[in-house]
Symmetry: C2
Subunit: 485 residues, 2 copies
């Protein structure tokens, strides 16, 4: 049963499992105690810190273990901001950071701080020059991920670190996704990571704070972990985390190149999915990306059905679509990139994923997508044609339309009322009515589903129609499209 | 090799180990995901929460899992204080709370809050009436441990909860030490606990917040654990923690009474140690106490040497003496109780401690204490007599004394200069010079070791001399003693 969601959490690495079992016997005591069990625990903790620091590329006394990657991000940001309070209270981050960074940013803003968000291009990549241009005298901290967790795009950390150093602003790198594959280069000041992303156990994060970085830990403190992480540590898990990270690095240096092998498998997915499934957009940078992660979106498909069908077929993947979890909004990453969000699938291959699993996925996917589209009454065959099909055909019932004046005062053209309809229905209905619109004419879609804001422009780009923009409406928004082909 | 420091951390319970191993296979995925690994993880998490809630005595939706007991205490206090901000900012706690509570209190004070500390008696017990009398209109929260972690004394949680309810003030109970032995009775509002104290794995705490308690989580939030604990959870450890807690409770209900067995072993230590070792003070409530924990202090002994010698003899114990870790001050618990701190030993027996281990400890201890006292030139035999021995005898060299006028302007009597001398030397030297003082006369001890403030009065009480109080001195303090016997 292939599990393709390593970017959420990776299965426990065999080395981590073995180290954890050993540490439950050898490393359970309090490393602050002077008796033999405590001394043994201290030795193991020191060795784990050294191994982790080597893998991160910092000094052992610059690295502390935290209860999670999120904890590392939150405490790293709050500590760095507090350390720079005299300089200013502006936090600069990219638009595609992990939610843990965004939550910390929200908190900072609620406490009176200010935020600057740096946009990304359509591949999800930040331009280092944009960061440089956004740096201001009151910028206290810059946060940038090393690679994106949803689309795999690598960020120009090294160049951004140079700009930050020049401006005297610390850079915190969220390395949760990339650390399994190698150290983060460049002159970053703080780095956060999460062990369960590399096959370590859950319950362990890393926070590195390079010497010379002003840092003032927030919240109550004790004497553990340099005063940065209070509470009894999770030593067996820490030992297992460090052991598995060291094992990954050792394997990368001496053994067959697992990153390259996974990269080839991902390349196969990137190439084959658009060939096998009509109306698919593969997103993220095709080259500067994580080796094991690929994301694509399928037009006229809802993420929840797609995930459900893939799960039934034995594949565990995740999605940035709305309607796939408690949220009704599409992923902020896809939004920031301006790409299609409906029918979104993220595949992240764990270490050792067999080639056959990927091949089987490629065999299964087309039928899964076809069946979901069929249930949504998207015409069979290349779905592209559905958009040009006349309404009233047996497989594409005419959606309810109203005259423009009655609804929006829109200057001529059709109005499609998709209010109350959830992703991907507004786009499917738009595709169905576009055939009624003369080439050069317009259609206005009324929709209150958040995904429409992203998916209607994305559909226009894929279909080569012109997206004219949106206007406020009594409910939701009015999205205007000019038929071009 | 007997490990007698369960109150610091207990060895992993076999049930916890087994559950952890199973959960590494079954419960590693993200319980927020909809695919089968995620659904399975969700089922396991829900079951763990139900089991933990049952053991705590709350509803499952009132309980969240945290990365540690300290985290539970810190977030419980900050969330409860924030929820009551409109009422006031006064935090009331006992003088013998765990350092995690005191650290949170310090933080609260630094942020502009106010503190009230309720004292304890010589057994370490709070009087419920004292709490009631200290409650004020602006009291936002009361913190009280269920039982003390250093001396084992149980607190009157139920009576305090009644007073709090009457006053409309929430009560947070730190149940870290007592939860292994049973639920905390009474109408508490919040409860914190720590899994590694009951043989669960490290990395898991519990925070229960009863419905109707105003609570506003601080710091960045996400959708996990009711918005109270952000970050990817440590599910395998959570499962193991809940399984072991459930197993302990089941064993207590159906099997032989382990608590009663350990209580008998502790009783044996309480009775035998003062018989076997001269000049020992057993501290803590003899009846209303944890079953597995006992603490005593040995006059004329330094904690570090004692721990070291016990470790060499194969016994792992802890100590509240100064000079045993990085701190130079004796435990705040012993200080608040006003009992002797030098030569302090805390014994906390893990589940299943064999009777023979306790007997062997009782065999070893007298020689260990004797050897430490010998090295410190405390006269052999009942050390009590040393205090009455004339200086100049071969085993008790006269300490350096100065005339009173020269040093302190003290009105007559001897002055003993123990400046720069660390615990237990000031007390040993006092014991040596007391023979020079006529009955009814005074001796003033100049000392700058923090332990002297506690140990000189404690020595007076044990020796039936009169402690006259302390005065400020150029360095340290001047402690005045009147010889009575």
């Amino acid at each position: 049963m292939p599990y393709f969601d390593a970017a959420a959490t990776a299965p426990l690495h065999p080395v981590a499992r073995e180290a954890l079992l050993a540490a439950l016997d050898e490393g359970w005591a309090d490393p602050a105690r002077l008796y033999r069990e405590g001394r043994r625990a201290r030795l193991l903790l020191d060795a784990a810190r050294e191994a982790a620091a080597e893998a991160v590329g910092c000094r052992p006394d610059e690295l502390v273990f935290t209860p999670s990657g999120t904890y590392a991000v939150h405490s790293g940001i709050s500590g760095a901001l507090a350390g720079r309070r005299r300089v200013g209270r502006r936090l600069l981050h990219s638009a595609v950071e992990h939610s843990s960074v965004l939550h910390a940013a929200t908190r900072h803003e609620a406490a009176g701080g200010t935020l600057s968000e740096v946009p990304v291009d359509r591949t999800g990549r930040v331009a280092a020059e944009d960061v440089a241009a956004t740096l201001r005298p009151d910028t206290a901290l810059v946060c940038l991920q090393s690679a994106n967790h949803e689309v795999g795009t690598e960020q120009p950390v090294e160049a951004v670190a140079d700009h930050c150093r020049e401006a005297g602003v610390p850079l915190l790198v969220d390395a949760a996704q990339s650390l399994p594959w190698g150290p983060v280069p460049g002159g970053w000041s703080l780095l956060a990571a999460s062990a369960h992303k590399w096959g370590g156990p859950p319950g362990v994060g890393l926070l590195a704070v390079r010497k010379g970085t002003r840092f003032s830990p927030q919240g109550p403190q004790d004497e553990r972990e340099s005063g940065r992480v209070p509470g009894f540590g999770n030593l067996p898990a820490v030992i297992a985390a460090a052991a598995s990270l060291r094992a990954l690095r050792a394997a990368a240096e001496s053994g067959p190149d697992e990153a390259a092998r996974l990269r080839r498998l991902v390349d196969r997915i990137r190439v084959r999915v658009p060939e096998l499934v009509p109306d698919v957009e593969v997103v993220g940078d095709p080259v500067r990306r994580l080796p094991h992660l690929v994301t694509f979106s399928c037009l006229y498909v809802d993420g929840e059905s797609l995930l459900h069908e893939l799960d039934r077929a034995g594949f565990s993947v995740s999605s940035g679509s709305s309607c796939t979890s408690s949220t009704l909004t599409p992923s902020h990453v896809l939004r920031a990139m301006g790409v299609l969000s409906e029918g979104n699938v993220r595949i992240s291959l764990p270490y050792g994923t067999p080639e056959e699993a990927v091949d089987r996925f490629l065999t299964v996917l087309p039928e899964v997508v076809r069946s979901v589209r069929e249930r949504l009454a998207v015409p069979a065959g290349p779905a592209a044609s559905a958009a040009r099909q006349a309404p009233g055909s047996p497989t594409a019932a005419a959606p309810e339309t109203v005259t423009p004046e009655a609804a929006t005062g829109s200057p001529g053209g059709l109005v499609l009322d998709a209010l109350g309809k959830r992703c991907p229905l507004p786009v499917i209905e738009l595709a169905k009515v576009i055939g009624e619109v003369p080439v050069g004419g317009t259609v206005t879609v009324l929709a209150d589903d958040e995904a429409a804001r992203l998916d209607i422009p994305a559909w226009c780009a894929m279909r080569e129609h012109e997206y004219l923009g949106e206007r406020a409406a009594e409910r939701g928004a009015a999205y205007m499209v000019r038929r071009r082909v």
